[in-house]
Symmetry: C2
Subunit: 182 residues, 2 copies
């Protein structure tokens, strides 16, 4: 990430990454959503250098994912509590857990999503909220939305064709040259 806030910044994935794309950010969020609040809780759980923790914590606060809340006046002490957007991020984390476990954990799951009351294991899948249809099936694609700029729209104009990128004509090359943004 760093300074490359341009290029594709219209893409919502890029925008998300700008907030949580750093290595530690998601791990910190994971802990915050688990109930961690205070500096040293994060530090001990993550074994992260204190200066890094400060930096990531601040950037998460800046992005509106954590709220810095004073819990003591003398001495002044703060805790970091997840905001709504952080709580909204939980499903992403869950999917990442499920995906990582499935593909990169030959020894089996080290982290499970469970029903808090019954303790029953849950297995996260993504469905369309309206129809309930699972979205894993290949009959869903991406398409340019109303707020898409010309660049994005060009890439996604053919909503249905998933292998169409290869078929793109070699023209319009120069036109695209420096039209990075948008």
């Amino acid at each position: 990430m760093q300074h490359k806030s341009f290029a594709d910044m219209q893409c919502p994935i890029a925008r998300s990454l700008e907030r949580v794309g750093e290595w530690w950010s998601m791990l910190i969020l994971r802990d915050a959503l688990r109930g961690a609040r205070r500096f040293d809780q994060f530090q001990k759980s993550l074994a992260i250098a204190p200066n890094m923790l400060t930096r990531r914590l601040n950037s998460l606060v800046e992005s509106g994912l954590l709220e810095r809340r004073r819990y003591s006046d003398r001495p002044p002490r703060y805790e970091y509590v997840p905001t709504e957007s952080a709580r909204d991020f939980r499903p992403v984390l869950w999917l990442l857990i499920s995906w990582g476990t499935k593909h990169f954990a030959p020894e089996g799951p080290s982290l499970l999503i469970v029903d808090a009351k019954t303790g029953a294991r849950a297995d996260p899948i993504v469905v369309d909220s309206a129809s309930g249809r699972p979205l894993m099936s290949p009959d869903f694609t991406l398409a340019a939305g109303p707020a898409a700029g010309a660049r994005l729209r060009r890439l996604y104009e053919a909503a249905g064709e998933s292998n169409a990128a290869a078929a793109e004509g070699p023209r319009a090359k120069a036109a695209r040259k420096k039209a990075r943004l948008n």
Copy 2:
């Protein structure tokens, strides 16, 4: 990423990040899943420096997310095609899109998930595959799985209590000191 492959490498989130945590990786995956196959397709779509693209492409191949496939013999030419694990990653991307759009796109959606045939917009949510229950509700938590090491297990031992982290006793501090791994 980089050399910090220790610390919390048992966490499936960390493992996932190790594969797709670089800034460009997810964007490349996004394009690959859209149908991009060849070097310059990625390059034009992403406006990424060629050396970076090479690096990211190679690391994705190494991680088993892309397959490098020869499509021409003279001259030798390769294309990069998403593997099953990459296709499994699509839901994560969708959620990231949905999350990013909801929280960081005041101008509205620039990317939509649509039914490929009808063009109808889909709205991704995460549910338990067995019960169909939405997982957003706070009555799901994380718990240590069978493959969890002592460290992880300690953090997640109390499956149900979501705000319990603060209640952890101040003892067992020295014991944890250098027990980073596991």
